[in-house]
């Protein structure tokens, strides 16, 4: 897998994502937001952080970056695009994913491990998980409260585009397990064609037991092996 990790001014999880790709045997490159052209990559990853300081609105300025035209084209051509945290916010701002990520219901930044339930195991990103599996993954965001209008929510649910939900230790979608107030405990969604995934939690931080969890590894290995199958 040749993966482009797009760095915007203010991205701060680009390095972590780069290392995660390397760990699963992929080839990662940093692509500065003013560069152009993504044709040579198999996947495009938008990292977390605070692009442009989250000034104005998280992701609102980054989505104007020159590279974003290419990201949109890459996605529209069916390319695999993964946005994590700020990357998810940018994907929503860019219109590649529906809805918006607004201020956490608690009104404060939330940084802790959460549990996620895997809702789909037939996407490019999740074939390595089992359906209903509970993952332990950190979150770290102030604006991760997923909102969308009723029709969009219904559409997401009926089309099965919710890939991850916040759950408690028992795997239930309780209110207490929801760290930011997201509708339907939504932690991650795909676009209609399933090639674009946005998620608030950080699988790239769950790659080693030393750091607390290895539950993110399967996401990157899934992506790598699915892309390998597609190219062959």
């Amino acid at each position: 897998m040749r993966a482009a990790v797009v760095t915007f001014p203010g991205s701060n999880c680009d390095y972590d994502l780069y290392k995660a790709i390397q760990q699963v045997g992929g080839e990662a490159s940093f692509v500065w937001h003013r560069e152009r052209g993504l044709e040579s990559y198999d996947a495009v990853l938008l990292p977390g952080g605070f692009s442009y300081g989250d000034y104005l609105r998280a992701g609102a300025i980054a989505r104007m970056s020159p590279i974003m035209e290419d990201v949109v084209e890459f996605a529209n051509n069916g390319g695999a695009v993964l946005g994590i945290c700020n990357g998810f916010q940018i994907l929503c701002e860019a219109g590649l994913l529906p809805g918006a990520l607004v201020r956490n219901a608690s009104l404060s930044f939330q940084s802790k491990d959460v549990r996620l339930r895997v809702e789909r195991t037939d996407t490019l990103f999740t074939t390595g998980y089992t359906l209903g599996q509970t993952l332990r993954v950190p979150i770290a965001h102030g604006e991760g409260n997923y909102e969308a209008d009723q029709r969009t929510l219904e559409q997401l649910e009926t089309e099965g585009r919710v890939v991850f939900r916040y759950v408690d230790q028992a795997g239930e979608t309780t209110e207490d397990a929801n760290p930011n107030g997201s509708w339907h405990n939504i932690a991650g969604i795909t676009n209609a064609t399933g090639n674009v995934l946005g998620m608030m939690p950080h699988p790239e931080r769950s790659m080693e037991q030393l750091l607390g969890s290895v539950d993110g590894v399967a996401l990157f290995t899934s992506l790598g092996s699915n892309l390998a199958m597609l190219t062959n």
Binding site: K19, G48, G53, L107, F109, Q110, G142, L211
Partner: protein
């Protein structure tokens, strides 16, 4: 601009139109004494201009000149074979093995945070990050050491909330994990909170760069944010006492932070250093351009000349005085090699940062400031940076404290009613309870290196590509320093070292932040001197030299000083990340062993504060040699993989330490069954804060080895109980009564205290 060869040494200095005449009142307003002013006149050979007066005032403030602390600081041990850079640079640097060096330092932002908590704390984080990356190191972790008044006060909750948000928003945005620190609440800090931020940065040894203006003819460039009128004379402000009206009138002296620009500066600076196009770089921190330029010149033994009209400013009409003394944030002074300015500019442009050539390095040793080509300040650089008078004052202990120490505490040795109730009250006190409400607002896992997150004895960051890790902690119990400064400072050192060995790290070096009151008062100077002496002794015994730090004096509001609070930031090295020891118990059936001895001491304890609102008595005795043996014992047990957990006993005593060990992070708690046989009354036994104690747990098969290792080091060790299932609850039996509680009760008491106190605030404000 005059030539860089320094041929012009005697540029006539003209008084600027519009500058006020120098009067004794003006001199006093600048925080300079008559003697100091006379000294300035002698150095100058004439009366200084208004601009020059401002420059001296900032450089000779306590904040920059350390005039009341320098002589005491000389008493601290500063060298060891692993010290690469001792005090005097932007940050200390030590060798941590495998070719890596660690830059680290702690710094205070107390005064700004008292006036504007959010920005005050945020800019404190910004400043300390810059101190680290200007050494060539990438910041990899921050810790913060905070003190506030009691949370019953609405004002205190406002300060606490603002400080935590400020630290969080800044560090989160730049993307540096917060790995720990500490916070305490006590009326002794009402009105004058303490906000100390510590940063650690890693680099390859050869990447080290120092902040000196070397190479005559090299170009000085101002980089980053533009200079505005914010924070003018912040350094002088930080060296004064606060008063009731400091709130409104001082707000313009507080700077505003922009973490986004900081992140760009960080990346650009590391790229600049790697390019080799620059010879020096320094943050324009306290006293802005003035201190960065004069200090860099001073270190190289050179001079500097700068043209004020070339400095990018935020608003028109700024005078040289204002430009020189502005403390606008996120600015750096860079010394570019002559002829490589464009290379510097290209790197900065990539990061969307401004850079302007504002002057050059000269060989005449002068700090010369021009405005449109006319000199408005021309000062010999060395006396400016090193000529600040230093004072040794008379120190006398106040009788008030002697009386507090002699308070008869015997009535408090008897518990008031139920032991379990008292225990839960103590466990739920904001000083003991979980600080989760704070660190859940800080990104602790970004950069994927955090092996131990906040909430444990120390935070741990692994060094990628090696098997090594760095542990760090901050500690100081101000109450104990208040009651007996020398003992209190030793305890702070001892606790810090215990916190490090508990995770398996060898205590290696120290950065300190001396937060005290007004040193001109003899009882405050006494505290300062005694604390430094205590610290020095402990640094010697533990072989942990001081590599730098910060002094924050004049922490007083309306004449009342804070508790003397010499915060110790200690770092340690872990050679094998696989051997990190957790704080929490790990397995049912494991044996719990207490290392050290329980004592009959209760002075200065949290128990006295919450049950009798007392800060009194003699602090617990501390034996540095015994502490050293204890440290080595735990490290050896860790090294030989004989223990499954280790946790230090501190605030709240043995009972609270045991509760913390059963609870862990709350996800998978255990129970414990403990029997204490000591002939000591239950209050001091359970809640006393006797020093030199660590609780370890081990597999029953390892017990013999654990006891043998302790014996080898002459450290008392006794089996006090075993780990049980959470459903079996938490019990401590003593000769005169017991503590017994369910894990759900422990958990809610420990984890929910701070959040419920702070949620009430939001609802009612």
């Amino acid at each position: 601009m005059s030539k860089a060869d320094g041929a012009i040494t005697e540029v006539p200095v003209s008084a600027r139109a519009g500058d006020p005449p120098i009067t004794p009142e003006l001199v006093a307003d600048h925080g300079l004494s008559e003697d100091e002013y006379e000294r300035i006149q002698r150095i100058m050979g004439r009366e200084p201009t208004f601009t020059e007066l401002g420059v001296f005032s900032a450089m000779w403030s306590e904040h920059c000149g350390y005039k009341n602390s320098k002589r005491l600081l000389k008493l601290l041990p500063i060298s060891a074979p692993w010290v690469i850079q001792g005090p005097g640079e932007n940050a200390g640097v030590i060798d941590v093995g495998d070719g890596y060096a660690l830059a680290f330092k702690i710094e205070s932002h107390n005064h700004p945070s008292a006036v504007e908590p959010y920005q005050g704390a945020a800019t404190g984080v910004g400043g300390i990050l810059r101190d680290i990356f200007t050494m060539g190191a990438r910041p990899v972790a921050v810790l913060d050491s905070l003190r506030f008044g009691d949370l019953t006060s609405g004002r205190v909750r406002y300060l606490f909330d603002g400080v935590v948000r400020g630290i969080g928003d800044y560090g989160n945005c730049v993307g540096i994990p917060n790995i720990g620190g500490e916070v305490a609440f006590d009326r002794g800090y009402e009105g004058n909170p303490i906000v100390n931020a510590m940063c650690l940065g890693l680099m390859k040894k050869e990447e080290l760069i120092t902040a000196s203006a070397s190479g005559v003819g090299n170009t000085l460039m101002a980089v980053g944010a533009r200079t505005g009128r914010d924070g003018i004379h912040g350094a002088t402000f930080a060296s004064e006492e606060l008063s009731e009206d400091s709130d409104e009138s001082s707000r313009p002296q507080v700077q505003v932070g922009d973490p986004f620009t900081e992140k760009l500066l960080l990346e650009a600076s590391l790229e600049l250093i790697a390019s080799g196009a620059i010879t020096g770089i320094q943050d324009m921190g306290a006293a802005g351009i003035t201190s960065s330029a004069s200090e860099m010149a001073g270190r190289a033994g050179n001079g500097v000349e700068m043209e004020m009209s070339s400095v990018p400013v935020r608003e028109k009409g700024m005078t040289p005085y204002e430009i020189l003394l502005s403390e606008s944030q996120e600015r750096m002074l860079v010394v570019a090699e002559k002829g490589r300015e464009n290379e510097v500019r290209e790197i900065l442009e990539k990061w969307e940062l401004e850079a302007a050539e504002i002057g050059c390095v000269t060989d005449d040793g002068r700090f010369r400031i021009l405005e449109d080509g006319l000199a408005v300040a021309n000062i010999p650089a060395l006396p400016l940076t090193d000529g600040c008078p230093t004072y040794e004052r008379e120190g006398l202990e106040s009788s008030e404290i002697q009386n507090l120490r002699n308070t008869d505490l015997s009535e408090h040795l008897i518990p008031e009613g139920d032991l379990t109730k008292t225990f839960l009250k103590l466990l739920g006190s904001p000083n003991v309870a979980s600080k989760r409400w704070i660190y859940h607002q800080y990104d602790t896992t970004v950069r994927t290196a955090t092996a131990v997150r906040p909430g444990g004895d120390s935070g741990v960051i692994r060094i990628r590509g090696t098997t090594r890790a760095i542990a760090a902690t901050t500690d100081c119990n101000g109450r104990l320093v208040y009651l007996e400064p020398r003992t209190g400072a030793k305890i702070a050192m001892a606790e810090a070292a215990r916190n490090l060995v508990c995770v398996g790290a060898v205590p290696t070096a120290v950065t300190n932040n001396l937060n005290f009151g007004n040193p001109l008062k003899s009882h405050i100077y006494y505290q300062l001197r005694e604390a430094v002496l205590g610290m020095a002794e402990a640094c010697d015994t533990f072989e942990t030299p001081v590599t730098g730090g910060n002094v924050s004096l004049y922490n007083e509001t309306d004449g009342r000083a804070i508790y003397p609070t010499p915060v110790i930031g200690m770092v340690g090295v872990i050679e094998d990340v696989e051997k990190i020891t957790p704080q929490a118990f790990q397995r049912t059936g494991d044996i719990i062993v207490l290392l050290g001895t329980n004592t009959n001491e209760i002075g200065g304890s949290e128990y006295l504060y919450i049950t009798a609102s007392l800060v009194a008595g003699t602090p617990p005795a501390v034996n540095l040699d015994a502490e050293r043996s204890l440290q080595q014992t735990v490290l050896e047990m860790n090294y030989e993989l004989k223990i499954r957990s280790a946790h230090d006993c501190s605030e709240g005593g043995l009972a609270c330490a045991l509760a913390e060990a059963v609870l862990g992070d709350g996800d998978n708690p255990f129970g414990a069954s403990i029997t204490l046989d000591d002939q000591i009354r239950p209050v001091p036994l359970l809640f006393g804060e006797g020093q030199g104690r660590i609780i370890v747990s081990c597999d029953p098969l390892s017990l013999e080895a654990v006891l043998r290792i302790a014996k080898k080091h002459d450290v008392p060790a006794i089996q006090i109980g075993y780990v049980t299932e959470a459903s079996e609850g938490f019990q401590i039996t003593t000769r005169e009564g017991m503590v017994s509680a369910s894990l759900s009760k422990l958990s809610s008491t420990y984890f929910d205290t701070l959040s419920s106190l702070m949620t009430v605030t939001t609802a009612s404000s």
